[in-house]
Amino acid sequence: MSTIASFGFWSFVGIVAGIYTLFALGVQVQFGFAGLLNFGHVAFMGIGAYTMAILVVKEDLNMWVAAGCGVALAMLAGVLLGLPTLRLRADYFAITTIAFSEILRYVATNEDRLTGGSQGTINLAGIGRTAQYDGAWQSFLGKVERGLNVSGDVATLILVWSVAALAVGAVSLVMRTPWGRVLKAIREDEDAVASLGKNVFAYKLQALAVGAALGAVAGLFYAWQFSFFSPDDFAPLLTFFAWMIVILGGLGRAWTVPVGAIVFGVIFAGTRFFDFPPFSLLDSTERAYVRLIVIGLVIIGLMLFRPQGIFGSREEMVLE
């Protein structure tokens, strides 16, 4: 690779990796720890982002309060999703969760008055009026920039990774508690756990709620970083990326998630810099296709050659 990537570009990659860390951590809690096949995880990201934006623009609510509402609503959605569906067998549950996230995406695309429709948050305040939901974020960011004497990108990077590190630490700690012990046991054999008097259903709901909260926080940072989003930003593809990150790092450990996210970020962004043939013969849209082909091949390769991920051990293989 002959180009020297700009610092601005790589800090951008770092921010995206941080957001994906939070997002994928939710998958780790739900699947790596509790064994739940939730393939609709991106819905929680969307709920977090949209709730915050809508409350700020339409109800004039304080942005931080709106953000909290976004997280709370996502957790509620997780519980509501789980109540009727957790008793389905694993593969049916998986399809239902994708259906859930797609239904939400359709609603967001069609209910223009609520969400701005397919044009996204630009439309939130109605035609002809500019909608801004991140005013409070921008001023907070400004304070951080001045306080630490860094650029806007670096400030965001620091903020995202601070929260991500906190989340990873918190999840690690919780998994070492008796609660975490029950959760890990459920993943492996829920009948054995039930025979010891634990309410498996309640634990699964809690795992969904915690995962949803993490997804929603990721959604908030996504909204703040890009200042604009639309329903298509929350497509199932993102959920699959999160799964890939979790498996890449290794299942069942919180600290492997940021590693997986960074590797993913590098792969995803690094393909922009393949300046040698045959890639140099492609234009930018074609390179975007190649990027996704590479991601697909990485997933396949991972499963073929190292399904336990970078840090997993064969004995701990949980995928089945």
Binding site: W179, R181, A192, G252, E315
Partner: protein
Amino acid sequence: MNAPILEVREVTCSFGGLRAVDRASLDVEPGSITALIGPNGAGKSTLFNVVSGFLAADRGTVRFEGRRIDRSAPHRIARFGLVRTFQVPRALTRLSVLDNVLLAASGHPGERLSGLLLRPGRVRARERKARERATELLELVRLESHAGDYAGVLSGGERKLLDFARVLMAGPRLVLLDEPMAGVSPTLGRQLVEHALGLRADLGMTFLFVEHDLDMVMEASDRVIVMNEGRVIASGAPADVRADERVVDAYLGTTLSL
């Protein structure tokens, strides 16, 4: 005579066209060590599944300490004080041996998120006590050297012992053991029986176990219940049951012709 701790009445359970359990009725006396025996396919494990809530019976009732449990979820039944082991031991291989036993601790505030947040001191104290008790139980089954290992390294027989320790950790009043001696050395088996007798004496714990080793059954149990083809065909003191014609026939495979 105390009321039975477990009353099974007319329980029927069919799979497809097959009646695995056919209007089975039995009583288990509190504080007894009762054996459930019968040839393969007699329906013993199915009955265990129904009693512990893992299978819904088509008909019939199950009462534990007077309370109906045949419609209750397995974890509820375990909380009421009825705990079971499985025929194929269900060791949680990716948890440590100690964690496996700790899992069975009942009423642990640390197992609730609210407990973790609001009562960390109580959680720590409870966890300490649980560890002590768990280590004691592991010593009882001679697995304390494996306490820190993944349960996956244990052999089949060792996993059975782990199951036993785990069940005791839950502090139940009625323990259902599904073939507890299979794969366990006779000396250790003897010690477990001793311990069960001790628990029965000290805590009034009741044991209902399925077993194929008839000699052991005759020695260790107060009462024997015999099943064949889904039905309970005899129950009573070991010596009486052993002499019962129907029981002999069941094991030899002949059917009574009347």
